[in-house]
């Protein structure tokens, strides 16, 4: 479990995160949602320690991130897997070498064991075998995302972070990625944190949703709670499109 305790983060005098507190649970997809500029990315980067909060603390199963020494922080990061917005696969390594990379750096597995584990992870995210030895630039955006997921889970992380996992993907591929994130979260029991403003993803996989507006936590709840929320800002954001307005109307009618 990750606990965010009253964190504040400013850049050049401008407050980007303003006293945010939340709990992110294990075995669930925790989503950080909000409009562009609401502070989602800064919050995610603060959670993973790429930004140090000015105030407040982040606890990983009781371990304080802000009080950690560099060595302990690096050890903690070995328990994390991250899917970046642009996949962030290493250009100079093939698909399978990218997946093997964390094992080469951190595990004592021999070459054959690493090969087997990398193949298993790639097959788990439905990457066909003929792609294994291609370079990242030679595969599609959807495949790059899946390879990045395989790399993120290869060391069986306790915490999985996904920054805009569906950006630049078509709706069908987005759905596949969402399902994969959901399945892996349940399978591995990870505390998964997804940063997104994709409404389909939110309604599809969001177990615990944290809504930010202008750097302030406006609302937190499940995707079911969204329909009954009377938070205007959340309503404006989630039901901005006519399609979702209709979904909400139908949902509420159905419940009556």
């Amino acid at each position: 479990m990750i606990e965010i305790n009253d964190i504040v983060k400013s850049f050049d005098g401008s407050t980007v995160l303003n006293h945010i507190s939340a709990s992110l649970e294990d075995g669930k997809v925790n989503m950080i949602i909000g409009q562009s500029g609401s502070g989602k990315t800064v919050l995610l980067k603060s959670i993973i320690g790429l930004h140090i909060p000015d105030e407040g603390d982040i606890l990983y199963d009781g371990r304080s991130l802000t009080a950690m020494k560099e060595k302990d922080l690096r050890l903690l990061r070995r328990e994390m897997g991250m899917l970046f917005q642009g996949s962030a696969l290493f250009d100079s390594l093939s698909v399978i070498e990218n997946v093997k990379f964390p094992m080469q750096v951190f595990s004592d597995k021999d070459e054959e064991e690493m090969e087997q584990r990398a193949r298993y992870c790639l097959q788990r995210v439905n990457i066909p075998e003929h792609v294994f030895h291609l370079m990242p630039g030679e595969i599609s955006g959807g495949q790059q995302k899946r390879v990045a997921i395989a790399r993120a889970i290869v060391l069986e992380p306790k915490y999985l972070f996904c920054d805009e996992p569906n950006s630049g993907l078509d709706p069908r591929t987005s759905l596949v990625i969402d399902q994969l994130i959901k399945e892996l979260t349940e399978e591995l029991g990870t505390c998964t944190v997804v940063n997104s403003h994709d409404m389909n993803s939110i309604m599809e996989i969001g177990d615990n949703i944290l809504f930010l507006k202008n750097g302030v936590k406006e609302w937190q709840g499940s995707r079911q709670d969204i329909f009954h929320s009377d938070n205007e800002a959340l309503d404006d954001f989630v039901f901005a499109s006519n399609l979702y307005k209709e979904v909400k109307r139908t949902h509420l009618l159905h419940q009556q």
Binding site: I48, L50, R74, R77, R78, G86, A88, F101, V105, F161
Partner: protein, 245 residues
Amino acid sequence: MNILARIGAYFLLMGKVFRLPDRQRTFWRQYSNELEKQGLQSLPIVVIISLFIGAILTIQAKINTENPLLPTYTTGLLTRETLLLEFSSTILCLILAGKVGSNIASEIGTMRITEQIDALEIMGVNSANYLILPKILAFVTMMPFLVIISIAIGLVGGWGVGAFTDVITVADYLTGIQYAFNPYFIWYGIIKALVFAFIITSMSSFYGYYAYGGALEVGKASTNAVVRSSIVILFADLLLTKLLL
């Protein structure tokens, strides 16, 4: 970033770079890749430039020493001294700052803007140590060889002028390049080149590592890396010449 902040950031980065690598096996693999990329792949340009500059220096030296009071071997002597003292260390490194420096800055800069460096950090890898240390050590390792090859090829270029033109006789040239030879000048060139190799790789890595934005910023980082490392090389050249000669 103002200049003091930049200098501070450079030394902090070097503090992260010069640490024991997490995995020796991974480090040596990176190191051998860099030996090939920064060193062996620089060999063609070193050979071509040294050959031509050696020949050109010989012709220019001959023109400037056309005086009956000067011995005929002076041309060879001047060519050798210029190659040993300045060309095969300083000028060669200024040229390599363009090739190796821009390559390093753009490679690391691209990794920065495509979040590959963040990915390394999230995996718990010391990204500065993993990416930069092999580059610095590999280029510093290769530099003495490049300097010696440059001197040798430069001297061959000068010999070619004697052998294929009537500017100077081969005998006079060979006498000149052996006359009053001081082996310390080779060490002087190598010591300077080692320092310059460190400047090129560390400064280029610094500009790449702190690149942000998009392709345009990576281009700017690459240009800054070449221009500023060249200026620092010239300052270091002045200082080392004063100290070592």
